[in-house]
């Protein structure tokens, strides 16, 4: 069992190659750790402190007897630590890395089959003349999605999570390095199709974008509130099918805004193109904001120098 994401051991693959499970950077990763966060010390097994090995924590029959009543040395240890702290640490490092380089990263989340990959293919087609873009694809198995993106002439990396149900910030940090994402670009991260787990795992993206297709139920935002709460933008996809369905878009949007009143909503059809220009404009605005932040950071560093 992987020690961070809980996936099957050795099942995470990036472009078909196994991801190292040491959870230590494999190569030279140059992002800075946020200064105000405590550095996590990794636990090294030693003769004194055997760790996570059944034989080394085996109290044996002797030790069990030593714990007879009255002999216990039980004590309380205050911990007070966030269970997701480790992921959040990697996510903040990713965020610093991306912002300092003017890389606008979007984490695309939805249930399977909402049209995320088609949306990406159409988005790339609309932006490719003017924008440098990269894609990280997360799926449990297959390289099909990355292959679809590469066919558009864009660098794409496939992360197979094996039994894992979501991407985590460490996987994405490895992906960013492997893709050699250049400055002033847009990075799309297509998460594993799952409306539950990816909500809890910050990847260091600028925004989570949740995609809901009109072939699903209007009440999905109520059924999966965490995801709609975590997102900044809702794309209501496959709107060209509305004449054939009983789906009420106003009701779905109403439910989503009930979960997250500041949620921005764009109705579109990735396949037919309606509404795509609004989505493209939203990306352009976000990208320019990131580039502006990068320049501000550079200027303040020059100022300090």
């Amino acid at each position: 069992m992987c020690t961070t994401c809980g996936c099957g051991h050795g099942l995470i693959q990036i472009d078909g190659k196994r991801l190292q499970h040491s959870r230590k950077p494999a190569g030279a990763i140059r992002y800075r750790m946020p200064a105000n966060l405590p550095r996590q010390t990794s636990l090294k097994a030693s003769a004194d402190y055997p760790v996570h090995k059944p034989d080394l924590i085996d109290f044996g029959s002797g030790a069990a007897q030593a714990h007879a009543s009255g002999m216990s040395q039980a004590r309380m240890v205050k911990i007070e630590r966030d269970i997701l702290a480790k992921n959040n640490l990697h996510a903040e490092a990713n965020r610093c890395y991306l912002t300092e380089r003017g890389i606008f990263a979007l984490n695309l989340v939805s249930s399977p089959g909402s049209g995320k990959t088609t949306l990406l293919v159409q988005t790339i087609a609309a932006l490719r003349e003017e924008q440098r873009m990269y894609v990280i694809e997360g799926d449990q198995q297959t390289e099909n999605d990355a292959a679809r993106i590469r066919a558009c002439g864009i660098s794409a990396l496939q992360i197979n999570t094996g039994k894992g149900c979501h991407l985590d910030a460490y996987m994405v940090s490895q992906g960013i390095q492997r893709l050699a994402v250049r400055e002033d670009s847009v990075l799309f991260i297509e998460n594993v199709g799952n409306l539950v787990c990816p909500a809890g795992f910050d990847l260091g993206e600028a925004h989570k974008v949740v995609i809901l297709s009109v072939t699903e139920g209007e009440d999905k935002p109520l059924k999966y509130p965490d995801m709609f709460r975590a997102a900044d933008l809702l794309l209501l996809n496959k709107c060209d099918l509305l004449p054939y369905l009983t789906f009420d878009p106003e009701l779905a949007i109403n439910y989503a805004c009930r979960i997250n009143p500041s949620l921005r909503v764009i109705q579109l059809s990735a396949l037919r193109g309606e509404g795509m220009s609004e989505w493209i404009d939203w990306i352009k605005v976000g990208y320019h904001q990131v580039v502006t932040s990068k320049k501000k950071i550079e200027n303040s560093q020059h100022h300090v120098d």
């Binding site: 809980g6 636990l43 966030d82 439910y255 979960i259």
Partner: protein
């Protein structure tokens, strides 16, 4: 099944504490789980036993402290209970509640020896 990932993270926190605070066995683990987090306590309980197997916390008792959700209604300007993320203000029916409490997910305390 992200409860499995969370249980793995709990184990990492416990192992780091075991290393720094010199204990070799964990008897009880207290986790704070907010009502508004995306965690199902029963699923976490199941994963906890599986993940702790063979570690310093094997056979440890898991105590879950539920933290009730609490929101702030901008219209009524007061705190109101919040059972779900889509809860409405119990006073005025407004949806725009800001979460004050209940989104925590923490290892609070350990009983060790």
């Amino acid at each position: 099944m992200h409860e499995m990932s969370l249980a793995e993270n709990v184990l990492q926190i416990i192992e780091e504490a075991a290393y720094h605070q010199s204990f070799t066995r964990v008897k009880t683990v207290w986790l704070e789980i907010g009502q508004l987090t995306c965690v199902e306590p029963e699923a976490l309980r199941f994963c906890f036993d599986v993940v702790m197997h063979g570690s310093v916390a094997q056979h440890a008792r898991l105590e879950i402290i539920g933290i009730p959700g609490l929101g702030w209604c901008k219209t009524c300007m007061q705190e109101v209970p919040m059972a779900t993320l889509y809860a409405v203000c119990s006073q005025c029916g407004n949806f725009e509640l800001e979460v004050l409490c209940g989104d925590t997910l923490r290892v609070k305390e350990l009983e060790v020896e």
